[in-house]
């Protein structure tokens, strides 16, 4: 079977033999690796600047196709980075397509030296149980002068830099619901 590249190459050879120099056309046959990709907008997960990125995925989302990320570059529409990225951000493809990437929660039991895989449901349940226990232990309904405060001083919450406004809204609701006072964001760490 003749591939597109072979076809062009043969064409170039024939036309060159006829006296036309089409050598530059060979270079044009160098395939653009993002010409058939799906573009997905996202946020760089590294620092707190929150640069927007475009993730290029190859694969047409057909039933038997597993899409692969082939390229990540800056999103020119973002007012934050306007298409540029730093050396870490531009390497995001390596972060996504990586053998060493975590795909499930790991649990290191107290006193143990090794991390063991854990099911998502178990992990969420365990976290919830710890939050409930801690809250039961430290929740203060009234302060020393008898005023209602409903606060939880023995738990803190840390937000991530890539959280969207919507997620932050939900995190805040959750925090107020529990009565957490200590609240910090990765951007100030």
């Amino acid at each position: 079977m003749t591939s597109r590249r072979d076809f062009i190459r043969t064409g170039v050879a024939v036309t060159t033999a006829l006296g036309f120099d089409l050598r530059p056309a060979i270079a044009a046959a160098r395939e653009l690796k993002i010409s058939r990709t799906t573009q997905t907008n996202s946020v760089c997960p590294y620092c707190a600047v929150g640069c927007s990125v475009v993730i290029h995925t190859l694969g047409d989302k057909a039933r038997n196709v597993r899409p692969t990320v082939v390229h990540v570059e800056g999103d020119p529409d973002s007012p934050i980075n306007r298409g540029t990225l730093c050396s870490k951000g531009i390497s995001l493809k390596e972060f996504i397509v990586n053998d060493r990437r975590l795909t499930q929660p790991l649990h290191r039991a107290p006193g143990s030296a090794e991390w063991k895989p854990m099911a998502w449901d178990d992990a969420v349940e365990r976290i919830a149980r710890h939050i409930k226990n801690t809250r039961d232990k430290g929740f203060a309904e009234k302060d020393s002068q008898g005023r209602t405060v409903n606060r939880l001083p023995n738990l803190a919450m840390i937000g991530g830099c890539t959280d969207t406004n919507e997620i932050n809204y939900l995190i805040s609701k959750f925090r107020f619901g529990l009565g957490i006072l200590s609240y910090e964001n990765q951007s100030r760490l």
Binding site: R23, P24, I26, A27, A28, R30, E31, L32, K33, S35, H71, V72, E73, G74, N81, G83, T84, L85, C86, S87, K88, G89, I90, S91, K93, E94
Partner: protein
């Protein structure tokens, strides 16, 4: 078609190396572990799978510590030494937009381009026996995108556009720098090789060698001789020989064999 170019304003470079990683990522280059040589440089030198290096030149100028960052990659010369030296048809070509591009399919791995390059850029891969270098992302430029390194640069130290526009911008920037007290600021665009499509704005344009740029780059005389007069002479001898044989055939006739 307009000649495209890359402008490197070295005064704006912060040495973040985003352009290096962008180049590696776009061209799907394999990661090679670097070596520490007492500078902040990623690698000591270019490699077949490393086409773009920021040189961190640390030196003292007029009693002050200076850090002269210089982006080291193919200069895409108008009068390219690699093209002059290359014997394989179609292996190195100058695109209509001025980009000097290597087609590895046609490369025979002789390494003449390495000898011919006044900036010491092409690198021979020991495994594939082909020569590699920056292509100025000709695949991206062909569809109207900027090269990968230029897109990534967070300080706008790198800009991309038509050569005339960038030359104008570079001259203006150098004049601004001179006005702000950097007396030696100037533009470097490869004198001696007909101008390069990579233009530098240097704070110390009087000493380009400190940036790792040759003061007066030119195609080595060996390559010029070999590809010029010697090649012509060789061709003359070849055609002359054929002609002489033909004339001899006409005048003397074919070789006769005598029985002993």
């Amino acid at each position: 078609m307009q000649t495209v170019a890359k402008l490197i304003d070295t005064t704006l470079c912060i040495g973040c190396k985003a352009c290096e990683v962008a180049c590696q990522e776009w061209n799907d280059q394999e990661f090679t572990m670097g070596v520490f040589n007492n500078t902040y440089q990623t690698m000591p030198d270019l490699a077949p799978n490393f086409w773009n290096l920021i040189k961190f030149n640390e030196l003292e100028i007029d009693g002050a510590q200076s850090w002269l960052m210089a982006k080291y990659q193919c200069m895409h010369c108008a009068d390219a030494g690699c093209i002059a030296a290359c014997p394989a048809p179609g292996a190195i070509m100058r695109l209509p937009n001025g980009i000097v591009d290597f087609a590895q399919d046609h490369c025979i791995g002789c390494g003449y381009c390495i000898t011919g390059c006044p900036f010491d850029v092409p690198r021979l891969c020991a495994k594939t026996k082909k020569v590699y270098k920056c292509s100025l992302c000709s695949d991206r430029v062909a569809v109207g995108l900027e090269p990968s390194c230029i897109k990534a640069c967070p300080t706008s130290c790198l800009t991309f556009g038509s050569r005339d526009d960038l030359k104008f911008a570079a001259d203006k920037r150098a004049a601004d720098l001179r006005k702000s007290g950097f007396q030696q600021a100037g533009v470097y665009d490869g004198p001696g090789v007909g101008g390069t499509n990579v233009i530098y704005v240097l704070k110390h344009a009087d000493r380009p060698t400190d940036y790792g740029l040759p003061k007066n780059p030119s195609i080595p005389w060996t390559v010029q001789l070999w590809k010029g007069p010697v090649k012509l002479l060789g061709n003359l001898v070849f055609v002359g020989g054929l002609l002489a044989a033909f004339v001899h055939f006409i005048r003397v006739g074919p070789k006769e064999s005598h029985d002993e």
